[in-house]
Amino acid sequence: MDNKVPQLNIVGFLCNWCSYAGADMTGLGRNTYPSNIKVIRIPCTGRMDPMMIIEAFHNGADGVLVSGCHPGDCHYTEGNYYWRRRYPHLKSLLEHFGIDKRRFHASWVSASEGKKFAEVVKKVTAEVKDWRDNG
């Protein structure tokens, strides 16, 4: 997809050890992706309080991505398992609130998966754009 998607705001929560490092790797490899995502660094996806995501949508974010270590690879052993349990519940709750499922995403990106992070952001941005353009 084209990397230039104006007027679309996506908040990304990336865990420090895998996905944030993975996103750094994307930069090291000079892989490009749409600039809509604004990244907030968190220690671990297990720290994700659903309130932060709800607040993001409440404030007008078009999309949210939460990304952490692959299952089994959590720096803190089990934080991403908590998030893995929380994610589907929150997703269905948000849908119930009227937040389209194309707007809320989770992924696993390791510290070495720079290319994958770019792909994830492209996919997420495309889905959020699809929601905005086509309803």
């Binding site: 990397n3 705001n9 490092a21 750094d24 220690p43 720290r47 932060m52 974010a61 934080g79 390791s110």
Partner: protein, 662 residues
């Protein structure tokens, strides 16, 4: 009221080439609480840091935002800068406008600049809520664990022990020595591998600071830098400490079922065995899957012949749990299995062998006592074809990387062959010759010019079995001709791949691996032996293919890192940990249940005068700051320093607000 300084880095042209840094700085100046905003070429440089220090003094700043590279790169640097100027180091935030902006949005400078402004603004929002945190310290267990007893592990253990620290060296096989012990000679000096390795093996065994644990594997790891708790499985050797290493049991053992791993399955080995004669420790083990007694209940010959009564069939696997301050991972590599190469016979042609098998064939301690004969019919060889890049630089086999040593070991093997059998002819099929290293290119030249090894630039398309010969068909791309060589033996230069089980092992430590399974170093240039896990270091080929000198250098580097760690009295740890507001804690114990480190204690405590309640409390020395408790708390009583709810929510709010840039 906060007094914030914002410092925008150009990083040469890395950032400034894409992001309009002056506009970012100008925008920063317009934000509430920001007293000064400047941009500079290299913020991390000495003058750059001095700019920050001067500004702190001049404007009476109490907190900083540095818009530069990833905090994973330079957060520690700028925290130290703040400290030098008398500000609490935790009043510093970074906005990552290099890795997350300039390098990934170079296709639109305007959008990149806008995003850089936004990320900087988010950092300003966060730092406004930052609190001064005081340093925390943890004890260090001054004992190192080295995993893997190859040349990397041996070298690391010797160096750490040499500095006076205790080391436990754990090896999976019955002897230390690793891959290097299997080699005949080493390039580019052609000195005997065993002659330079065995003294080191003996030194490791005799060093009073080193404890050897062979036939053992790490099964569980918890804890963290300074305080790793490691569970190790000591596999049952079936031989106890009374063994004097006389070797009678091995000679008399009637079983020939198993194939020698050390000889790369070219020869049988006994059920009770030491991998090779110079094994350290020189104590045999019983392979229970091959032992007649364990399989049928009859035999016990080894027990009968043992002069010291060292055989113990009842031994069980034993688990020990020990504490270490640091870990060196030196678990080594496997060689690529060429059964994926249909054109080379799916690994089914007996006289198509691996480079490592050739080492065993030409080694005087090998199964043929150094006579290079064909594995199929034991005939001597006349024409030998070497094929390079098998499982290396081959996109089709998902091994696009160069294994770095094959060009050199092929040249070495061809020279050794000519040394032993001057009448033989050696042919080498290659893609390119990669001989970067001291005296390496000269070595390859010698193989060609002095030894008459014939180098053909091209790939082999197929190996045919034909009347006790191998017909090797390939292309010589320099002359443009098709080549057919009738060979007696084909030696493949199998590349390196991660050790079987490398992924599972990485998970024990939560280390990350690259797409092939080699372990990731913390930084490809500036932290090549550290991992993302503080206190865990990597050495040798588990990180990527490399030769012996590089491996030894890397091993010594890990030792230096371990010693630097152990030289400290105690360990400074980040105070970014959880804390409980006991006034609002409902005592539900959710945090207590989710904490992966058991860092939460439930206590009955007087939270207000006259009100004793069941509340949570964080054990500061145990908490690692993952925030699982914070994400789980129902009553918002737990918060995480450095990543407080308020900070993250302010970042969210800023992220979603439009830029008010005029």
């Amino acid at each position: 009221m906060a007094r914030i300084g914002v410092f925008v880095c150009h990083c040469g042209t890395n950032i400034a080439g894409v992001v309009d840094v002056t506009r970012v700085a100008k925008y920063a100046g317009s934000l509430p609480g920001v007293k000064v905003a400047v941009d500079y070429k290299f913020m991390c440089s000495d003058p750059g840091q001095n700019t920050i220090i001067d500004a702190i003094k001049k404007y009476g700043l109490d907190r900083l935002v540095v818009s530069a590279c990833s905090p994973r790169m330079h957060e520690a640097t700028f925290r130290r800068t703040a400290e030098r100027a008398g500000i609490n180091p935790y009043m510093v935030e970074m906005a990552n406008i290099r890795e997350h902006v300039a390098w990934v949005h170079s296709d639109d400078k305007e959008l990149a600049t806008q995003k850089a402004m936004k990320l900087m603004e988010m950092a300003v929002a966060k730092v406004r809520r930052s609190e001064a945190l005081s340093k925390m310290f943890a004890p260090i267990e001054k004992r190192a664990l080295v995993i893997g007893g190859g040349i990397a592990g041996i070298q690391a253990a010797l160096d750490i022990a040499g500095a006076g620290y205790k080391v436990l060296l754990v090896e999976k096989e019955p002897s230390i020595g690793g891959r290097m012990a299997q080699l005949d000679k080493t390039f580019p000096t052609l000195d005997c591998s065993a002659c330079i390795l065995t003294p080191k093996m003996v030194a490791a065994a005799q060093d009073p600071n080193i404890t050897l644990l062979t036939y053992a594997e790490v099964t569980e790891v918890c804890g963290f830098v300074g305080q790793f708790e490691v569970k190790i499985k000591k596999k049952a050797k079936s031989v106890n400490s009374k063994c004097i290493g006389c070797g009678v049991c091995t000679t008399k053992c009637p079983s020939k079922k198993a194939l020698s791993e050390f000889d790369e399955k070219l020869a049988p080995r006994k059920a009770i065995y030491t991998p090779f004669p110079q094994a350290v420790p020189n104590v045999p083990v019983i392979d229970r899957t091959a032992c007649t007694f364990f399989l049928t209940g009859k035999c016990k010959i080894c027990e009968k012949v043992c002069p010291t009564g060292a055989i113990d069939y009842t031994q069980q696997d034993e688990f020990i749990k020990e504490k270490f301050g640091a870990v060196v991972v030196a678990t080594g590599f496997d060689i690529y299995d060429h059964s994926n190469y249909g054109e080379y016979g799916y690994g089914e042609i007996k006289d198509v062998i691996t480079g490592l098998q050739f080492e065993r064939l030409i080694s005087s301690t090998g199964p043929t006592a150094g006579h290079v004969t064909r594995p199929s019919d034991h005939r001597e060889v006349k024409n030998v074809v070497f094929i390079q890049c098998v499982g290396s630089r081959d996109e089709a086999k998902k091994r696009p990387y160069c294994s770095r040593v094959c060009c050199m070991y092929t040249a070495k093997q061809a020279m050794l062959l000519k040394d032993h059998y001057p009448e033989t002819q050696a042919y080498v099929f290659y893609i390119d010759i990669r001989s970067a290293g001291k005296n390496y290119e000269e070595f390859v030249q010698r193989a060609q010019n002095e030894y008459g090894v014939l180098y053909l630039r091209g790939r082999v398309s197929k190996i045919y079995e034909r009347a006790n010969k191998l017909l090797v068909k390939g292309a010589d791309t320099l002359s443009g001709a098709q080549v057919e060589i009738e060979a007696d033996l084909v030696v493949l230069a199998n590349g390196f791949e991660p050790k079987k089980g490398a992924k599972e092992f990485a998970q024990l430590f939560h280390m990350s691996s690259d797409q092939y399974g080699f372990y990731n170093e913390l930084h490809p240039k500036l932290a090549p032996v550290e991992t993302a896990i503080s206190g865990v270091f990597v050495a040798g080929c588990c990180q990527s293919p490399k030769d012996i000198p590089d491996t030894v250098a890397m091993a010594s580097a890990t030792a230096a890192k371990v010693c630097a760690l152990f030289a400290k009295e105690k360990l400074e740890v980040e105070p970014l940990i959880a804390g409980v507001n006991q006034l609002t804690c409902s005592g539900c114990e959710t945090c207590y249940n989710v904490c992966p480190y058991s860092a939460i204690e439930m206590k009955d405590k007087e939270v207000k005068r006259g009100e004793v309640r069941h509340v949570a409390e964080v054990l500061e020395s145990v908490c690692k700051g993952c925030g699982a408790c914070v994400g789980a708390c129902y009553s918002k009583a737990v918060d995480l320093k450095g990543f407080t709810d308020r900070q993250v929510l302010d970042q969210v709010e800023t992220a979603t607000a439009p830029i008010t840039d005029n």
